[in-house]
């Protein structure tokens, strides 16, 4: 088995996930980690697949779905890297009046303390006059949650956003 990262984008409509995964199934692929979600008016899929033969046969299997649903598809062969074991230990929630620079400002501060973003989701909402930006970041802070709390303090004022920093404790029972 070889691994590839499959990216799919198409105008959102019912049946995209079903068509793509059915095609992968018939091509003897198996699906690993996946993120599938609507972004704007588009539906997006990024997923790790294991495929048994060559990427050409995966593309061929996907072709009818690509044509029928007008999808854009990209396949990148990837080498199987060892999974990094870091579980997220910190959740950073950000919200405020939308303006350019929020994500860059927040993630810049996080990068400076070695924070590894594992997962970031954000949404623009609110009305056209009063746009609202909401972002949730989960990641691993090597120096712990307190280091993140300290790092984001200046941002509140500079960016005019609310920033919450919460520990993520994984409790194994």
């Amino acid at each position: 088995m070889s691994q590839a990262l499959l990216t799919v984008i198409g105008e959102d409509r019912p049946g995209i996930v079903a068509a793509v995964t059915q095609a992968l199934f018939t091509a003897d692929c198996s699906i690993g980690d996946a993120s599938m979600m609507r972004l704007g008016g588009y539906f997006t899929i990024m997923q790790v697949i294991d495929y048994p033969r060559d990427l050409g046969s995966v593309e061929m299997a996907l072709d009818p779905a690509i044509k029928r649903l007008n999808l854009r598809v990209h396949l990148d062969p990837i080498s199987s890297v060892a999974l990094t074991a870091d579980l997220p230990n910190t959740r950073v929630t950000v919200y405020g009046a939308d303006h350019p620079g929020i994500v860059a400002g927040v993630t810049g501060v996080l990068a400076a303390i070695g924070f590894n973003v594992i997962d970031l989701e954000s949404e623009s909402s609110g009305s056209a006059e009063r746009p609202l930006y909401v972002m949730v970041i989960q990641g691993y802070a090597p120096e712990g949650v307190e280091s993140v709390r300290k790092a984001v303090v200046p941002l509140r004022e500079r960016e005019g956003v609310e920033i919450g920093v919460h520990p993520i404790e994984t409790a194994v029972f």
Partner: protein
Amino acid sequence: MAVLSILTYPDPRLQRKAAPVSVFDDDLHHFVDDLTETMYAGPGGVGIAAPQVDRPQRIVIVDVRPKLGEDCHGLMVLINPELAAWEGMAVGREGCMSVPDFTGNVIRAERIRVQAQDASGRARSYECEGFEARAVQHEMDHLDGLLFLDRLVSRKIDLFRRKNYKK
């Protein structure tokens, strides 16, 4: 005392509903001792339920001292436990000895009052909060054949259901 072997998902025995305990005899005491030892030997070491070791009876043991020190009830032997009251909700990431390697977000009550019997059959009542309350709820789910996998919530819910809405 003995460390018992833990059933892991997808073993169907984890999905049985456990029966109440009615006999509080030496056999029960021995079992409670073994179950406690098994809990301390586990990776989390803070909670265990009898169905996890293939004994479908309503017995839960929780001891969160490894995590919280003395700021908790210590060793709780909860036989035939019932949630008498609960309030608040919090999202937390959980894992389970019966579901190796996977962790996920689960919503639990923040504060609970649990009524149970101890190993001798005496009535007990505990008020728990936070991590200890989460452990008790997680273990009590095993008595009804539920795993935390049955209660997974999406990451997006975290932001909107967090406790500190008050400012």
